[in-house]
């Protein structure tokens, strides 16, 4: 699974080419070939950088036909969603307790 690892992410982003790759993926998901066409590095080099970024949890990939498309890891949004889901779960439970309490018991 793609887990974000802060320490590895710091190391991964210490490299200028990898930062450039991340910035391009922020604009749009891309294949290795598309990234190599935009950057002054070879396809094998791009692949190697993507492996480092993927191991650090910064990017994820998926098959699209014969190609693999790389995109930024949406785990940040997912983590926020989990946090808010817990928030609303607790809020609705408290709501139920409040609304079902007989009115005369309300302070």
């Amino acid at each position: 699974m793609s887990t974000y690892r802060p320490d590895e992410a710091w190391t991964a982003l210490g490299d200028g080419t990898r930062r450039a790759i991340v910035e391009r993926l922020a604009e749009r998901p891309s294949s290795v070939g598309e990234l190599a066409a935009d950057l002054p590095v070879s396809r094998p080099a791009v692949s190697q950088h993507l492996k480092v970024l993927k191991d650090a949890g910064l990017v994820v990939d998926e098959a699209a036909g014969t190609r693999r498309i790389y995109r930024l890891n949406p785990a940040g949004v997912a983590a926020l969603r989990d946090q808010l889901d817990a928030f609303w779960g607790r809020a609705l439970t408290a709501f139920q307790q409040t609304v079902e309490r007989p009115p005369e018991e309300e302070s």
Binding site: Y4, P74, V77, L80, Q83, A94, F95, Q96, T98, V99
Partner: protein
């Protein structure tokens, strides 16, 4: 598709109360039902006010008189529906840029005279981040990446 699904969350609950009472309790007593450990003010909260009109705000008032407006009321249709913005960023601070806020819709559906289903949808969560789209030329400078990474890490509950 994964991205779209992760940017919305749904919750619902069925309560033994008439729809009018369910709506009134949710809006008038939101301060009582909100988990108490989530607060935007330094001072303890004296009350949470849900202004019952479109264009109103939801705000917390601290015991020291400080106020924090953390939501705009976007729809107010008692006893059926209310929509309000979520102007709180992932660091649990007020977000002043509406483009970076999400919204919450709550619908109340009568299932009987004394039974109400409450459906909650919190949508557009992707507008809050994780901050990838806010890249700029400054990203390579001293503030860019460290700030960005901290923001991303803060989103994750188990990241130290």
């Amino acid at each position: 598709m994964t991205q779209a699904q992760s940017s919305v969350l749904h919750r619902q609950i069925v309560v033994d109360a008439p729809i009018e009472r369910a709506f009134a309790v949710f809006t008038e007593r939101f301060g009582d039902i909100k988990p108490p450990d989530h607060t935007l003010l330094a001072a303890p909260i004296a009350e949470t006010v849900f202004e019952p009109r479109v264009g109103g705000h939801v705000y917390d008032r601290g015991v020291d008189g400080s106020e924090c407006r953390w939501s705009r009321v976007l729809a107010y249709e008692p006893p059926h529906r209310v929509v309000f913005s979520w102007d709180i960023n992932p660091q649990w601070q007020v977000e002043t840029d509406p483009e970076l806020t999400s919204e919450v819709e709550v619908r109340f559906i009568a299932e009987g005279p004394d039974r109400t289903r409450v459906e909650l949808e919190h949508r557009n969560l992707d507008r809050h981040g994780p901050g990838w789209p806010v890249f700029s030329e400054s990203i390579g400078g001293d503030g860019g990446w460290p700030l960005y990474l901290q923001r991303f890490a803060d989103l994750l509950p188990d990241a130290a």
